[in-house]
């Protein structure tokens, strides 16, 4: 080596001077938009007249939501037999739907809280609507565990209410943990969302007041809690927001971890596995970001928000989707490996059965949507084609529904004693009740975009190039 080296390089092997390439940070608000433009743009959505498409969408969404309402009335009046459950598959669609919606509810808080703590500034233009999505998804999710029980009028037994009979809930049950996890998550999410919205509500109050629309001004004023934008208020606000972000961060991880305990703590092959908590959390984030894309891309197009939700935002979301999708794929592979490595014939059978048994169709839909789809996000050309990204995001949603279906139903359908094996067929009530929750979700989301500021104006202004005193440089925000 030495001979060759001396001959080949006469000079020193080290550069005289390090000159890193300049990586231009993409601007988070494009086209040099100023503060007023941002305020007008976002407030304008609330202040302007209701567009015709909104009414159409709202009407359709209400109609779809009525399926859920009708389904629930039917179930409660008649019995959960109207669903497709049977022995041995005692949980099926309702629980699949619950986990599906709860998973979707993960992106919002993750974007708001974790990305806030990590100072990922690109979160600002999407966090408000992602949080709204979280809350509405939790609402949809909450419907299912409540109404899937046999006697919903006694569901309050699950809450630790000190009654005369002195019976407490059973704190060893993961379902009980679910009650606490989901309700805590729901409450913190609502609080976080609301606190973040206060300055913007105050802006709306002021603008409505100036326009002479007193009733609106009063309502927004009520919720703005007397916000005046003083430096002291801003200081307290920032601290409160940070603290809430801190509280919400572990919840992002805990909710789906605990939901996964419903399965991991049981002894059914295919459920009883320690990989579930991280795998479920990764899956939840994956599905959450999938849903963010599904909602945000049409919204961006409808309200012409390309300057606020830039290609850079889409790139970031796609990359997170890619990362979590790959994690999920890894988990699928690892389940198989452990089933083989564990040498337990019951366990081994479950996984072969998943991939090749009567539910193989569901399994391969899941693999296609969750493992193969996100791999396309490696390609810039794919990420740049918003239509294509939107289609892929739908695939992610479908795949994640099937993941829960595969985990819950295939494991239950064929467990220990072959004599009890069965096959689940959903009824129309299962299907329509689930379908209806998209209506419920849409109704809530449409109301949100119509009446609330769908982006955090104050925060976006802070990340505009103009907000940076060294504007024009390329290394300020991270």
């Amino acid at each position: 080596m030495s001979d060759h080296g001396e001959q080949a390089f006469a000079g020193p092997a080290i550069l005289q001077e390090v000159n890193p390439a300049v990586l231009p940070r993409p601007a988070l608000v494009a086209n040099n938009r100023d503060f007023a433009w941002i305020t007008n743009k976002i407030c304008g959505i609330v202040e302007g007249g209701t567009p015709a498409w909104w009414w159409w969408c709202f009407g359709v969404a209400c109609f779809i939501a009525s399926f859920t309402v009708a389904g629930i009335i039917y179930v409660v009046s008649t019995g959960v037999g109207v669903w497709g459950h049977r022995t041995p598959i005692n949980w099926s669609w309702p629980i699949v739907d619950f986990v599906f919606w709860i998973g979707i509810g993960h992106a919002g808080t993750l974007i708001s809280a974790i990305l806030c703590l990590l100072r990922q500034k690109w979160r600002t233009s999407i966090n408000r609507s992602a949080e709204a999505m979280t809350i509405f998804a939790v609402v949809c999710a909450g419907i299912f565990p409540v109404f899937h029980v046999g006697r919903v009028w006694y569901a309050w037994f699950l809450f630790p209410i000190p009654t005369y009979n002195g019976i407490w809930p059973q704190f060893r049950s993961p379902l009980e943990w679910d009650v606490f996890a989901v309700s805590t998550y729901g409450m913190v999410s609502v609080m976080f969302w609301y606190v973040g919205m206060i300055p913007d509500l105050a802006t709306l109050r002021d603008r409505f007041g100036a326009a002479g629309r007193v009733i609106r001004a009063r309502i927004y004023g009520f919720f703005a809690m007397g916000w005046r934008g003083s430096a002291r208020a801003w200081s307290n606000y920032e601290m409160a927001y940070l603290i809430l972000a801190g509280i919400a961060t572990p919840l992002v991880l805990s909710v789906h971890t605990i939901v996964s305990f419903d399965f991991a703590v049981s002894l059914i092959p295919g459920w009883h596995t320690t990989i579930f908590p991280p795998y479920f959390v990764a899956g939840a984030i994956f599905s959450g970001f999938g849903m963010v894309l599904t909602l945000m891309l049409p919204l961006r197009a409808l309200y012409k928000l390309e300057d606020l939700i830039t290609q850079y935002h889409i790139d970031c979301i796609c990359k997170i989707t890619l990362a979590t999708g790959t994690m999920v794929g890894y988990a699928y592979a690892m389940e198989f490996f452990i089933a083989w490595y564990g040498a337990n014939p019951y366990e081994g059978f479950t996984f072969i059965n998943r991939a090749f048994g009567p539910y193989a169709w569901a399994y391969w839909i899941m693999i296609t949507c969750n493992v193969i789809t996100p791999q396309l996000f490696w390609f810039k050309a794919v990420r740049r084609n918003t239509t294509f990204v939107w289609v892929l995001s739908i695939f992610v949603n479908v795949g994640m529904w099937f993941e829960r279906f595969v985990i819950i139903c295939t494991s239950l359908a064929r467990d220990f004693l072959p004599s009890s094996w069965g096959y689940l067929s959903p009824t129309v009530v299962d299907i329509f009740t689930f379908f209806g929750t998209f209506g419920v979700f849409s109704v809530l989301f449409l109301l949100f975009i119509r009446f609330l500021p769908l982006m955090a104006m104050a925060e976006i202004k802070a990340v505009t190039p103009q907000a940076d005193p060294h504007s024009g440089g390329s290394h300020s925000h991270g």
């Binding site: 005692n90 949980w91 006697r151 993961p174």
Partner: protein, 1097 residues
């Protein structure tokens, strides 16, 4: 446990002293008064659908009135049926009373004890006084209780559409007798069911004397006793065989389902189990050879099973006889048999090595010639008097139904009295019974239901259920049993003997008096005392048929053989049809019984329907067997199952020009070209349960070949229907679920069971310390093993446990329905059953193994098809009462918890129905009330609040008042009959304190029996306190074959199983060195040890 009340004899004063009455009518007890009593409450009250509470009270009130004054010609003892409006002496409200009675069925009766609550019979048990049955009872007996409370029963006597009261109907019957008395009965004909009743026998004799020209005919569509002519030919007298299975070390069954379908099956099962039970390694075990065409429970117990068409059984018997007797006259028969190399030879050699301790028997449906040859073989082997007793039976001089039909056709019958039965539904198709019956001028039908036959009869006489009747019956061995009423007839039904007595013009027609006279005449001694003893014991001691010596005489054999049909050549286009009584609804008489309809057939697992059973080979030829897949998990394991339901192809059978259509079900283990048609379904006029369930196989059944016939063809139609098949998957998948060994292996390695389970390959769940403990210590202290969790405290006086012996369980399903009766388990109907929502707390799992399961997930021969000739493994599964119950820790509301005696109990009121417990139960024994099964009609479950609501009053009466009725949305499961456990404890506690030992609260072993244990004829289920090392359950659990199902999960079930043993003959050509399920386990989960399998496949 049992509390038998001996009613005090009526005092002298009560009998002869002043009698009190409320009106002159009552005193006179005129027919007018009695009909007035019936009309006391609103008109038509007894004619409407079901009974309401008011009517029930009325019945009580009527019984009060009648009880107070006595009936005409009847003495005070009528007061045995006492009204509950008045306190009964010695009765403690809320405590059940037990009375001895019997259930008559064909030529035998089943001794029973009826449990009554406040005057309502709610549960039937076997009468332990009758030793051969040991207190067990059958599936049909358990379910017969529900027939009493059937809302679809005939509720009134009718004549040409108008309702008659009891006085009027009595007059009609007496009138028939009067009309024909002049002509000495010419023009009068009776068609009755078979009966063992001595009183009926006596009355029929009387009838014959008075009306000698009347025709007395008997007809049973299904026979469960060997043809009488065979015994007469062989032994020259009217005799029948009584088998002693307990003494038989080698048994050959020629198409005889002696464990289930044949008369005396309870005794058989009990004795067979005694010879099968192996408690230590020195015990020997009987060996069962079965040649059969259908797949029966007896076949499932066989050590060697030959699938052979019923038509070839004569040749089989001949071949066996040739080998054993060496008599060349059997040669011609033997040559007709398709030889299975070495089978007959080795089987015969095995029998000859056990002379006097073996038994050969033939199925009742086989021709007399086969029975006669079986007698010859038994005689040659010295079995007569040892394992086969011959008893002399009274000769029936009844004419067959075909003779009666001929007379009707000839126009010589003017009045036809049909006593029970249902000929319009089940008479041979070639008779054209319906038309015949219509052609008779007057038809009087006596029956419990308005059915097909009643629809064609002018007069319908409502029959009383046997639980409402006085009567008598005889067991297989002839012991006379009383039938005594538990309740006054709910709908004023009459009994058969009453009807006969009235027509015969007997001076006495009160059934109790009739029975009284019969019994006291037979018993002798003090009539009152012996009759009371008879009722108290539930049997008449030493009344069995007399044993007769059997000197075999082969001279009649040739004639019988010549009469028997020659074996037909069978093939795809010439199939043999075998008609069998349905496992649950028998010949159709129980078709309106929901418990039975929902009880799955033990082999096919089909509930609510019958199906044309075809062999896998035939199924393939018909193209209905789905093709095997190369993937192990998707192979043809499901028998036409699609999305969890059996979608059966509909087939059309043609036999002798008659056709029927029905769903096809591929049944492994059938003779290749025999199709099996279960009878008893397809009722056209039945009740809300039985109406239109299945198809009627009677449609193609002729009187010349009633049990099996050759020459049928089968075509597949394009149609498909749903069958409620309760078990989709037939393979055990090589798992350690039912653990089996051959008895030889067991003798060498008594604890083999420990090596063939998962727990042999996992760390000990109870740790080193736990391994050192005694079973009693283990139960109360629960060693932690390697668990982090604190285990529950089991500090009760008792620790309950159960042991189920898979070696003796014959899979008869009696436990399933006994549990249903005891625990008020609802039925869910066919639609819901097909959706996998049956509610049975105990079920019987049935697995087939053919030893060809491969280890590989892909490809491989064994991974493809449903087997043709499998071994069957049956396993009763109920809640295991796990000490570390997975269901308990996941229930969020503490609705399922442990008590201190080891019961996993359900607090129904606390349950919200998350169903998490059912998911986490590895045994899948928890059952969920998806709908309000009890409050809603099964045909309108999906109507919700818009459907009809409420349980019929009559059905409510059948409920056990000690068990809660569960509402919708609640999980339920087996509790080891906690109500019985608590009753037993309370009674023992009271007794202990009365005896002055208030501290001795430990209930002695055997005092408390669970419903499933009590009914089991094979004594396979043992329950008791495992803290007591001498209790039967502790002894059973101490046996080396004891294992926990899925024990490696550390659930520590309190119910454990005793492994099943098989006893194949190593010299037989189909010898298997390992049970096939073990071979499968070895190849699938332990490919390394597959080499040890040995033997031939």
């Amino acid at each position: 446990m049992k509390r038998k009340i001996i009613h005090p004899a009526p005092s002298e004063r009560a009998v002869n002293g002043p009698q009190y009455w409320r009106s002159l009518g009552e005193l006179a007890d005129s027919p007018g008064f009695r009909s007035h009593l019936e009309r006391e409450f609103p008109e038509g009250a007894s004619g409407i659908d079901g009974v309401d509470r008011r009517q029930f009270l009325k019945i009580m009130a009527a019984s009060f009135a009648l009880g107070g004054v006595g009936l005409a010609g009847c003495r005070r003892p009528e007061s045995h049926i006492l009204p509950f409006g008045k306190s009964v002496e010695g009765y403690v409200p809320g405590m059940p009373l037990y009375y001895a009675t019997a259930m008559p069925l064909r030529k035998t009766g089943l001794p029973l004890l009826a449990e009554t609550h406040e005057g309502r019979p709610t549960k039937l048990e076997g009468n332990p006084v009758y030793a051969p049955n040991g207190g067990s009872s059958s599936l049909l007996a358990q379910a017969s209780l529900l027939d009493l409370y059937d809302p679809d029963r005939a509720t009134a006597h009718t004549r040409n559409g108008s309702v008659l009261d009891s006085a009027a109907i009595a007059e009609v019957l007496t009138g028939i007798g009067r009309t024909y008395a002049g002509g000495r009965g010419a023009g009068l004909a009776f068609l009755a069911e078979e009966s063992s009743s001595p009183t009926r026998f006596r009355l029929v004799q009387g009838l014959r004397r008075k009306l000698p020209q009347a025709v007395w005919s008997e007809y049973e569509p299904v026979s469960d006793e060997p043809a009488a002519e065979a015994a007469r030919a062989a032994f020259g007298r009217s005799a029948k065989p009584v088998y002693r299975f307990a003494r038989a070390k080698r048994i050959v069954s020629i198409d005889a389902d002696f464990l289930h379908a044949e008369a005396g099956s309870l005794t058989h099962a009990r004795d067979f189990a005694a010879g099968r039970r192996v408690t230590n390694k020195d015990d020997s075990m009987n060996r069962l050879y079965v040649a059969e065409s259908a797949f029966t429970l007896t076949g499932s117990m066989a050590d060697h099973r030959w699938r052979l068409a019923s038509g070839h059984m004569l040749a089989f018997a001949g071949a066996l006889a040739l080998r054993i007797t060496g008599d060349e006259s059997y040669g011609a028969l033997a040559r007709q048999l398709d030889v299975k190399e070495g089978w007959i030879e080795e089987c015969a050699a095995d029998l000859m090595a056990n002379k006097g301790e073996c038994l050969v028997l033939a199925g009742s449906h086989l021709p007399a010639a086969v029975h006669s040859i079986a007698y010859a073989i038994n005689a040659a082997l010295g079995n007569i008097g040892s394992t086969v007793d011959l008893v002399e039976v009274p000769e029936s001089r009844a004419v067959p139904i075909s003779d009666l039909a001929a007379r009707i056709k000839a126009g010589s019958v003017r009045t036809l009295v049909i006593l029970g039965g249902n000929p319009a539904y089940n008479a041979p198709a070639d008779l054209g019974w319906a038309a015949l019956q219509r052609s008779v001028a007057e038809v009087v039908r006596f029956g419990s239901h308005v059915d097909e036959t009643s629809a064609l009869a002018g007069t319908h006489v409502a029959a009383a259920h046997y639980l409402e009747s006085w009567g008598d019956a005889r067991t297989l061995d002839g012991t006379i049993l009383p039938i005594q009423p538990m309740i006054l007839p709910l709908f004023g039904g009459l009994t058969e003997i009453e009807v006969i007595a009235r027509i015969a013009g007997e001076t006495v027609s009160d059934p109790r008096t009739l029975v009284y006279s019969t019994i006291t005449a037979i018993a002798g001694g003090n009539p009152e005392a012996s009759f009371r003893r008879f009722l108290h014991d539930g049997l008449l001691a030493d009344s069995a048929y007399p044993k007769v010596s059997g000197d075999f005489d082969g001279s009649g054999l040739g004639r019988l053989v010549a009469q028997a049909p020659a074996p037909a050549i069978l093939g795809r286009d010439s199939l043999e049809v075998r008609f069998v009584a349905d496992h649950k609804v028998d010949d159709g008489r129980f078709a309106n019984n929901g418990w039975l309809q929902e009880c799955p057939d033990p082999i096919t697992k089909i509930a609510w329907d019958n199906a044309i059973l075809v062999s896998p080979k035939l199924g393939k030829a018909l193209g209905i067997a789905s093709k095997g897949s190369v993937l192990q998990v998707a192979r043809d394991e499901t028998n036409q199952f699609e999305k969890g339901r059996e979608m059966a192809h509909v087939g059309e059978v043609t036999l002798g020009g008659r056709k029927l259509r029905g769903p096809l079900h591929i049944q492994p283990g059938l003779s290749d070209y025999t199709i099996v048609l279960p009878l008893g379904h397809g009722r056209m006029v039945s009740g809300r349960v039985g109406q239109g369930v299945g198809f009627s196989a009677y449609a193609i059944r002729s009187s010349s070949a009633p049990h099996f016939a050759a020459g049928a063809t089968l075509a597949v139609t394009g149609e498909r229907v749903v069958l409620a098949d309760l078990q989709e998957h037939w393979s055990m998948e090589g798992r350690d679920i039912v653990r089996e060994a051959n008895v030889d292996e067991y003798h060498e390695k008594p604890d083999f069971v420990k090596e063939v389970g998962m727990e042999a390959e996992t760390p000990s769940t109870i740790g080193e310390e736990g391994e050192q403990m005694t079973p009693a210590q283990r139960a109360s202290e629960i060693p932690r093993g390697n668990s982090l969790y604190q285990t529950p405290k089991f500090d009760g006086v008792h620790q309950w446990g159960m042991s189920i012996d898979l070696n003796t369980c014959i899979g008869c399903n009696a436990c399933v329905v006994a549990c249903q009766a005891e625990n008020n388990i609802p039925i869910v109907g066919k639609d819901q059953a097909a959706r996998g929502r049956v509610m049975h707390w105990i079920r019987l799992d049935r697995y087939y193994s053919d030893g060809r399961l491969d280890g590989a997930a892909f490809g491989g021969d064994g991974n493809r098809e449903i087997p043709e000739d499998p071994q069957v493994s049956l396993q009763p599964v109920a809640c295991m009462q796990c000490e570390l119950a997975p269901c308990e820790m996941v229930c969020p509301v503490n609705a399922t918890v442990h008590d201190d005696e080891g019961l996993n109990v359900m607090a129904y009121n606390r349950c919200v129905g998350t169903r998490y417990c059912a998911n986490n139960c590895p045994y899948k024994v928890r059952r969920f009330n998806f709908f309000d099964w009890n409050e809603r009609r099964l045909d309108s479950l999906y109507m919700g609040p818009l459907g009809a609501q409420g349980m019929p009053e009559l059905v409510k009466m059948a409920k056990n008042p000690e068990v809660t009725i569960r509402m919708r949305g609640v999980m339920e499961k087996c509790t080891y009959c906690v109500q019985r456990v608590e009753n037993g404890k309370i009674r023992w506690k009271v007794k202990a304190s009365q005896d002055g030992h208030p501290g001795e609260v430990a209930v002695p072993d055997g005092t408390i029996k669970t419903a499933c244990q009590q009914v089991c004829p094979a004594e396979a289920i043992v329950f008791g306190n495992i803290l007591d090392p001498n209790s039967a359950v502790s002894q059973a659990k101490a046996r080396s074959q004891d294992y926990s199902l899925l024990g490696y999960l550390n659930t520590r079930p309190r119910t454990t199983y005793l492994a099943r043993l098989r006893n194949p003959n190593p010299r037989m050509p189909d010898y298997q060195a390992l049970p096939l399920s073990r071979r499968e386990r070895n190849t699938k989960t332990h490919p390394g040890v597959a080499a040890q399998n040995g033997g031939t496949a």
